[in-house]
Amino acid sequence: MSILDEEQTRAILGKVIQLSKADECSAMLNGETSGNIRFALNSVSTSGSIDNAELIVMVAFGKRTGMASINQFDDASLERVVRHAEELARLAPENPEFMPAIDKQEYKASATFSESTAAITPEYRAEVAAKSIAPCKEKNLVAAGFLEDGKSFSAIANSKGNFGYQKATSFNYTCTVRTEDGRGSGWVGRSLKEATDFKVEDEIQVAIRKATESAEARALEPGKYTVVLEPAAVAGLVGFMMFFFDARSADEGRSFLSKKGGGNRLGEQLFDKQVNIITDPWDAGTPALPWDMMGLPRQRQDLVKDGKVAFLNYSRYWAEKQGKQATAMPGNILMAGGSKSTAELVKGTKKGLLVTRTWYIRMVDPQTVLLTGLTRDGTFYIENGEIKYPVKNFRFNESPVIMLNNIDELGKPVRVQGDESPIAMVLPPMRLRDFTFTSLSDAV
């Protein structure tokens, strides 16, 4: 399936809406052509491409809804998928939280499509793998990495006349480099809009340097440390917290954003004044689709303003119940910072630890968003502005809320996409006081 253009999707979705006999009908048509290459032990292990498209039809009879989907778009298939959805809707119990289809919207396009990323070929991927592996082999290091890129289209329509279409591309590269004896490990990750901005020869040197320099790690006592977190290390913690900026769970009293005695903490000073986080679908370097999964138009929006909670996500149902404006789910997370690089933050650190990356982060207590996880692929001791020696990895137990109250300095934000996060983020490196490490890990 090639990437369908706007007119093709309009024609298919138009037929679907026409075919439906339900009170209302909404449909989404999404497709992606993605390619990947995976390498390990200095050799390509798998490579492939995935081509997929899917039409999802949602219909409603009163408050009874049904959904069906299909990956074939001939007239008979379209008829079948609409009838399936209608049949499921008739069988479904009434949903007391049913919301009618959204009205016609005006979506302002965002630049989610990059010609250079869309033009990636299997040869390009093989070259990225080869250029990642060769310098590692030369230095007796072992590379394992993954490049995944894709071009996609998203189209939505409903029986109230709403329609939206946009194309997008994605590019994510990660590589772990280890010493042959397994005593050193380094990592580099890049999430980019334009593939032409990717210079594998430069990127791989970051992982090589970290692998080499992390090899003779010393053990430090766990405890509270000043840390410089690289943006990739910040992503796992801040990204996790932002997922819980939900009005309903806060109002229901089961969120760190719930207010004692009832209500939520919207507008309260929860973080250091330096914390400013926005979402903006039209951000030049990290754009997002201008609508969310329900077709609500995304806006540029403060999420945290000068340390105050400036946003909670109101679903359409919850907004109506609470007399509020419904909000679209953010498509990206953009945190402001300063002008210094990670290296410059290290220079300004008297005593502390540099953390390349955080890993396997899980919720310990939703009451305080206490998260646990580990450092990985390059943790170093800093003294008088210089990296003195590598240290063994630590387990942390820390709440991003507490962490974002202990900010010493923020650096220059860069685009990151966490290994476990579906959303693109722009985050600064940061120097923090009293970051809580609770045990040592022997893992390299």
Binding site: S43, M58, S69, C175, T176, R248, W359, T372, T438, A443
Partner: protein
């Protein structure tokens, strides 16, 4: 277990939206009961096998799969979503010039599968240019035409949606009646109809069933702003609808007063207990950090086994193939050679792809190897790993352990964890006798928060219910408990394992691995076990 899946699920649960299924295309309920004719599948597979041979393949396997799933999601008195999904197609894997190639197609016509076989051969040929060592495939016997089916008593796909909705809404009502503030309950039903054929002379038709009924019950104290949840104590199982019968013979009353479940689950009873215990958790004292002897119920231990034994003994991790994402393993090949003391002599851990009721039980794996049981750790000593056909020779084995799995016809099969379980103790011993000898301990029931490093050394686990043990007696619930371990020290601190009568399964319905990530389901059995002198931390914090 994978966080992406968790986020996707909680996203669904909180939004109540109709969103695309993460399984495949959505279909009407009656289609969940149909099967593809094996004779048609054999003809298609044979076409693909000959096309691959003609294209120069020295080996080819064809998987024609129909993957069905159903999810019913509810909260309180509302049905949030009902989804029926199907994904059907063929995945073809070949070896040409000693290199693997793979291609998949949803076009189940002779033309479609032949084209995919040719494409797989072309990819293999291209990959062979970069391959330094040719693939070595351990021998697999030719089984001819065989079939296998999960021994279910009642196909959950055949149970009407209405009955499922009534069950869940009844469960929710019972929890609310017992004082819960909120309750989410869900049913997942999976049926994999898998046909495998290879140039080795096997044509294997399998019908695999799984079921899971998770729930989460929340109690809130608005005056203090405190909230606590207690998740259900069920396990995802390789069973049919009969798992939800709630047979009294499958219930165990623990010394801490909680009821836990074996091969059948009483969801309504557990919902009532969960509502009461969630409220108890609001009032329970916060744990004093320090060293404790832990008594771990199987509803908890499965996750510790999964993370600290199952994953580190996957051979692909040990070798470095997963270094960039999931990580490697501390249990390196030299440790097997020297019979590394992984645990105490009470620790006997086995892998088993045949155990009835388990999530990983199949007759044959996804590369046509007959499934079996084998030891990984014997009397505490590391003796083996989990392998697939192209890895067996690395350990000097003549056959694969049968650990190959793909989560879809469109995914390439690779090494996945077998059911890995702690064998019950040989001497007669129950949970109550274990508690009697504990001076200063904590009894943990149910799985909670979990995190482990990329080599599987340092892990931290929470739970659902925690009870303090003082001088051989359970004194009452405590809260804010998590324990931290270093894997070998933890398993070497195991001083007692209860006998076979206490053996129960837990498991993960969505275990993630690989890039692009694939999901698999796996069970882990154990009896109640005691671990001495484990580091317990207090997880309470104040946000101001």
């Amino acid at each position: 277990m994978q966080r992406r899946d968790f986020l996707a699920l909680s996203g669904l649960a909180t939004s109540g939206l109709l969103v695309p299924s993460f399984f495949g295309r959505a279909i009407a309920a009656e289609e969940l009961l149909t099967v593809l004719d094996p004779a048609i599948k054999k003809r298609l597979a044979d076409d693909a096998l000959s096309a691959a041979r003609d294209a120069g393949a020295t080996y080819c396997d064809v998987r024609i799969g129909r993957y069905l799933s159903q999810a019913v999601m509810t909260r309180e008195d509302k049905v949030q979503n009902v989804m029926n999904s199907e994904s059907t197609g063929a995945g073809i894997r070949v070896i040409v010039n000693g290199a693997w190639g793979f291609a998949a197609t949803s076009d189940l016509s002779p033309k479609g599968v032949v084209a995919a076989a040719k494409q797989a051969a072309a990819i293999a040929r291209a990959n062979s240019k970069y391959q330094s060592t040719p693939v070595q495939l351990a021998k697999a016997p030719a089984f001819g035409e065989v079939s296998w089916k999960t021994p279910i008593r009642k196909n959950a796909m055949a149970v009407p949606i209405k009955e499922k909705v009534e069950l869940l809404l009844g469960v929710n009502a019972a929890a609310l009646e017992a004082g819960a503030s909120f309750v989410n309950s869900t049913l997942f039903v999976v049926n994999e109809q898998k046909y495998f054929a290879s140039t080795d002379g096997s044509w294997i038709d399998q019908d695999v069933h799984r079921i899971w009924a998770p729930m989460s019950v929340t109690a809130i104290d608005k005056s203090t702003g405190k909230f606590r949840s207690r998740d259900g104590l069920s396990a995802p199982m390789g069973l049919g609808w009969e798992y939800l019968d709630g047979n009294s013979a499958d219930k165990t009353e623990l010394p801490v007063g909680s009821t836990v479940y074996g091969m059948s689950y009483d969801m309504r009873e557990d919902a009532i207990a969960a509502a009461r215990q969630a409220q108890d958790k609001l009032k329970a004292p916060s744990v004093k950090p320090g060293k404790y002897d832990l008594v771990l119920d199987p509803s908890h231990t499965w996750l510790t086994i999964h993370e600290s034994v199952g994953h580190p003994l996957e051979l692909d991790r040990v070798l470095g193939y997963e270094a960039n994402f999931a990580g490697t393993s501390f249990a390196t090949l030299d440790k097997r050679k020297e019979h590394f003391q992984y645990g105490s002599d009470k620790v006997h851990i086995f892998a088993d792809k045949t155990q009835p009721g388990s999530l990983g039980a199949v007759g044959y794996d996804d590369e046509g190897v007959k499934c079996k049981r084998w030891d990984l750790i014997r009397e505490g000593k590391l003796v083996d790993y989990q392998t697939i056909r192209d890895q067996a020779h690395i350990l000097g084995k003549s056959e694969s352990d049968g650990c190959c799995y793909a989560d879809s016809w469109s995914s390439v099969q690779f090494q996945r964890m077998a059911n890995v379980s702690l064998a019950p103790g040989k001497d007669k011993l129950g949970p109550a006798e274990i508690v009697k000898n504990v001076e200063n301990g904590i009894y943990i029931v149910g799985a909670g928060s979990f995190s482990i490093d990329q080599q599987r050394y340092n892990a931290q686990f929470g739970g659902q219910l925690f009870f303090e043990i003082k001088d051989g007696k359970v004194t009452g619930p405590v809260e804010d408990v998590a324990y931290q371990i270093r894997t070998p020290e933890f398993w070497n601190a195991c001083v007692a394992v209860a006998d076979e009568s206490d053996y129960r399964l837990g498991g993960s319905f969505f275990d993630g691995k690989g890039q692009p990530s694939q999901s698999s389901a796996v069970s882990h059995g154990s009896s109640t076990a005691r671990f001495n002198g484990i580091n317990v931390i207090n997880t309470a914090r104040a946000l101001g």
